[in-house]
């Protein structure tokens, strides 16, 4: 009787479910091992010495500063992009959405090349040049590279966030006498605050981690346009593993924090 019951219970195990959970767990274990390797391999003394080095301090400061600036710009621009794509129907909306999303699928190097050509000898480059903005092989270029790399990610999150805000609340607000802008300020923006925070955090992580676009547009010049991913790249090339691993660890910690905040805010949406 007991044997029959056990057999019965065994038959109820869903093979499909077990296989999916196994695949998920296997990949997770691999990722955890890879991340752990980054923390286990280097000597703690090497890491500490690298953190104190002029190059690392320069790189960290430049990364945080440019990352902060580009994140502010990304947030400012992705907010109206996300809202308009979520709320309005207009000619060419599908095309605009595709173009804004394009850098997500682009290799960063190609995006960097496109920006290099745009801000090179074209009339747009000359206009910015005359306004005092020079993006090629400069720190300003780092901000531009990070901005264009992170913008599509933030815009997507902003759009999804506003998709979740019930348009009926906006309708009611307008029926009570508030203009479209006042309604956006009083209703849509406060209700989207978690999503805006999530978009900002992801944008910051993306900006800090941008490599290919920065390398092509701003160049990877030692102690000039050297942000953390460039530090990692340069030091790998020199064979200086301590510096390379330290910049990797710093980037990983930033990503961890970003994903943690993103998950928390997404859960609160």
């Amino acid at each position: 009787m007991r044997e029959v019951a056990i057999k019965h219970r065994a038959m109820r195990i869903n093979v499909f479910k077990v296989v999916l959970i196994f695949i998920t767990s296997f990949i997770t274990v691999l990722l955890v091992l890879a991340i752990a390797a980054l923390f286990m391999v280097p000597d703690i003394k090497d890491v500490w010495e690298s953190l104190k080095s002029d190059e690392m301090i320069y790189s960290l400061k430049l990364s945080l500063w440019t990352g902060f600036l580009s994140t502010v710009l990304v947030t400012i621009f992705s907010l109206p992009i996300g809202y308009s794509l979520s709320r309005f129907q207009f000619f060419g909306k599908g095309f605009i959405k595709t173009i804004i999303d394009l850098p997500v699928a682009f290799p960063e190097l190609v995006l960097g090349l496109c920006l290099l050509l745009l801000f090179g000898n074209t009339f747009i480059g000359k206009i910015f040049d005359s306004l005092g903005f020079q993006f090629i092989f400069t720190k300003q270029g780092i901000v531009v590279a990070q901005f264009f790399t992170a913008l599509p990610y933030a815009s997507r999150i902003m759009k999804s966030t506003f998709d979740y805000v019930d348009p009926k609340m906006e309708f009611v607000s307008r029926s009570l006498g508030y203009s479209m802008f006042e309604t956006f300020r009083n209703v849509s923006l406060p209700l989207a605050r978690n999503g805006i925070l999530a978009a900002t955090v992801i944008a910051f992580a993306r900006c800090i981690g941008t490599f290919g676009t920065v390398l092509i547009l701003a160049g990877g010049t030692y102690m000039k346009t050297e942000v953390l991913p460039i530090t990692l790249y340069l030091n790998i090339s020199y064979g200086n593993m301590g510096m390379a691993l330290t910049s990797g660890i710093v980037l990983m910690i930033v990503s961890f924090m970003a994903i943690y905040v993103f998950e928390r805010t997404e859960a609160a949406l």
């Binding site: 609340m169 309708f171 029926s175 508030y178």
Partner: protein
């Protein structure tokens, strides 16, 4: 000119559309808009409030053309089925929101007055997420009414409420609406909303306004079999057998039904009888003014709360009658019993089966003439 005048309104939003909708409302009218899902009822509301710009047609409110006016300038309030309360505000702030924009004097008093009238004065400090459905709906009503809109639009405001809360909210709403003499347009699926609250009814189907008129008119004189069916009448196909002394006799599968509606001998017609217009007797009842005494078999009894729906078979004709539970017990009715269904000829209506396809309101005259003539 009327308080609200909608003229030849056309809107095409792809899946949903309105085709040539025209009607008028006087100040203080309470209009319920009824129709199947996807018929265009909500679009009609949202175009009145200004969220959709019509492709054609005009909307006049107090003699002013507001067709292209911005929603914030129209002074028309809206209450949705899912309340659309602002979750980051308290109940007090939700009600205050519209008043703040108007810089209204005595805001506090106004808020407390409307909150008391709608029995939500004890909830003012709460956040909407902590309220029940009925409470949320009353807050939504208070928010719209406190700014004293020229008109209030409601999109199925009670459909998410349980029956008891729905009844209570209806009573409160009626009191407040009457006190403010607010003109209301109320989209609903629930015919009881129409019976309890409205003085006018509009039926919309596939984007067409198929009937508009007083409550009595629409419910007792449905102009198409679709409307009759929709408002709960039993439909019977038949042929006009004779017409004399102001009474038309229609042969419905061998049963002679008499109606005061005119008809031509030989015409195929559809008759509509409302279940509540049928009297049930176990004995013949000759001394009565009612002209239809139909001997039938009680085939089914469906109890619906305090009332019971009886299915009656007279030959091949099946029709329904509603009686109270009390009457059901008093008559000791059971399935299989032979009973007389007694119907006044004035309560048997000829509806126009050939008008089943939707037509714009206003062209019904032609259809009626074909049958009546």
């Amino acid at each position: 000119m009327s308080f609200l005048s909608v003229r030849d309104l056309h809107i095409n939003l792809g899946e949903f559309y309105l085709n040539g909708v025209s009607f008028d409302l006087d100040r203080g009218d309470y209009l319920t808009v009824i129709g199947p899902t996807g018929s265009g009822k909500t679009i009609l509301l949202e175009s009145l409030i200004g969220f959709w710009t019509p492709d054609r047609g005009d909307i006049y409110l107090e003699n002013q053309n507001i067709t292209t006016e911005l929603p914030e300038k129209r002074q028309i309030g809206i209450v949705y089925q899912d309340y659309a309360l602002l979750p980051h505000f308290t109940v007090y702030q939700n009600i205050e929101y519209g008043l703040k924009k108007k810089n209204s004097h005595g805001m506090k008093e106004k808020i407390h007055e409307i909150a008391t009238a709608l029995s939500i004065d004890h909830l003012l400090h709460r956040k909407p997420t902590t309220l029940s459905g009925g409470e949320k709906q009353r807050v939504a009503l208070a928010r719209s009414l406190v700014v004293e809109p020229k008109m209030l639009l409601m999109d199925e405001p009670f459909s998410a409420l349980d029956p008891q809360t729905r009844r209570d909210t209806r009573v409160l709403l009626k009191k407040v609406i009457q006190k403010h003499n607010t003109t209301v347009m109320h989209v609903t699926h629930d015919l009881i909303d129409a019976w309890v609250l409205a003085n006018k009814v509009a039926i919309i189907r596939n984007g067409y306004l198929v009937q508009f008129g007083s409550l009595e008119d629409v419910f007792t004189r449905p102009q198409t079999s679709f409307i009759a069916d929709f408002v709960g009448a039993t439909l019977m196909e038949g042929t006009v057998y004779a017409h004399h002394d102001g009474v038309t006799v229609v042969n419905v599968n061998g049963v002679k039904m008499k109606t005061t509606d005119p008809g031509n001998t030989g015409d195929s017609v559809t008759l509509a009888v409302r279940p509540e217009d049928i009297l049930i007797s176990k004995e013949p009842w000759p001394l009565t003014s009612a002209q239809n005494h139909i001997y039938s078999t009680l085939s089914k009894i469906t109890c619906e709360g305090r009332t019971s729906l009886l299915s009656l078979n007279a030959g091949e004709t099946i029709f329904h009658a509603v009686i109270t539970k009390n009457s059901l017990e008093r008559l000791c009715l059971a399935t299989g019993d032979k009973v007389y269904a007694i119907i006044k000829s004035a309560n048997v209506r000829i509806v126009h089966s050939h008008l089943n396809s939707p037509r714009p309101f206003g062209s019904d005259r032609d259809g009626r003439d074909q049958v009546d003539g």
